[in-house]
Amino acid sequence: MFLLLFSFSILFTIQSHSYHKSKFINSANFLCGSIYNAANNMSAYFSLNSQNKLLSEENRRLKSLLYNLENTTEINNSDSLNKPYYFSNAQIIKNNYSAIDNVLLINKGINDSIKQDFGVASTEGIIGIVDKTSGNYATVISILNSTSSISAQLKKTNHYGTLKWDAKSPEFTQLVDIQKIAPVSVGDTIITSGRSSIFPKGIPIGTVANFELDASENYYEINVKLFNDMTNLEHVYIIENINKPEITNLLNE
């Protein structure tokens, strides 16, 4: 009896350590979702002020982009049918940043046509990738998760690498595998590279805090200070790449 149940739990643990394995113990179910939702409904009032500031800051940025566009016809063009990315909004109802493998919960699910591998970003930068979905809820593998790896690049050049997390601080993530010849300097902006077909190119991630060569002396290991305050998340955007099935089909052929 003991051994049976103990090995069950070990099995679940091992499964949870591999990325995207089908595990059925997750918080994207009706029970956990509704409890977290109720709790979040109350606690959301306490962060109203800071969330409002974030949203109005983003509005200001978008307005200034909109009215400063030199070529206004571009706006009309972007409304045409070949928009590859579709944005929808959601709320984080469970945030987590103190464990090694952090998983968030959002209040949108299959009923809102959210599927696995959609990107999640906030007004300030990326947050993670959708993992499991249920009717009304979905779990998100945060960038603060030791199994997450996201393609990212330097903003000023196109040298790209992989964004990982060393589980030490929720303010910093690590960008590895950047070629030694890349001109890295402290304060440079890191953005998503658009190579993974999850995130579009150009979503901000953070700035270079410090960097050093790795053991092989061929690649940089960069400490990235995140734009996002991962401890204070509320409103997020879910990014769907409409061309993704086509891209994955092509790659699998």
Binding site: L5, F6, F8, I10, H17, N26, S98, I100, D101, L105
Partner: protein, 168 residues
């Protein structure tokens, strides 16, 4: 029996809710969280069947895992301490346990403390070694175990003192 059953199911639900909604959001110094939900296992009636306590501990751990998206680490740790509980009981209460006359509200404070400390430390060691799952980070495991244990033990003792029925 019926009364005992209802008391324990209420304790089960309340401890899970408090754990998930309150104690997991403490993040003291960034990562230290207490896990006083294992009080359910600690205070489970002693005379009951061993299979029942192991099964209910498994359910307890699994529910916590579900809420925290942590695979099966809490379930594993809970099942383990439920399994070794008789040994710890014998160690910390000695003769009283042999005669099956323990009541948690009447035993003296010192032996109760040893009992809780042993349970908590065992639970946390298993919990964090499974969470980190890496032998090269053994220092981190021990560090997390130490800090979280202190926090959990303190809170558990406070909760038991507050909610213990006074012997009349």
């Amino acid at each position: 029996m019926n009364n005992l059953f209802s008391v324990n199911s209420i304790r089960f639900i309340v401890l899970i809710l408090i754990q998930v909604l309150v104690f997991n959001n403490i993040n003291f110094l960034g990562y230290i969280n207490p896990y006083p939900y294992i009080l359910f296992i600690a205070l489970f009636p002693i005379k009951n069947n061993r299979a029942i306590i192991i099964l209910s501990s498994f359910l307890l751990g699994l529910t916590i895992d579900m809420f925290l998206d942590s695979g099966g680490i809490h379930a594993a740790a809970c099942v383990f301490i439920a399994y070794v509980r008789p040994i710890i009981l014998k160690f910390s209460f000695g003769m009283i346990y042999e005669h099956h006359t323990i009541k948690f509200s009447t035993v003296e404070f010192g032996s109760k403390l040893t009992y809780v400390i042993l349970l908590v430390i065992l639970h946390h060691i298993i919990l964090f070694s499974l969470e980190i799952f890496n032998f090269s980070k053994i220092i981190l495991v021990l560090q997390k175990t130490l800090f979280s244990s202190m926090f959990t033990i303190l809170l558990s003792m406070i909760i038991t003192i507050i909610f213990s029925q006074k012997p009349k």
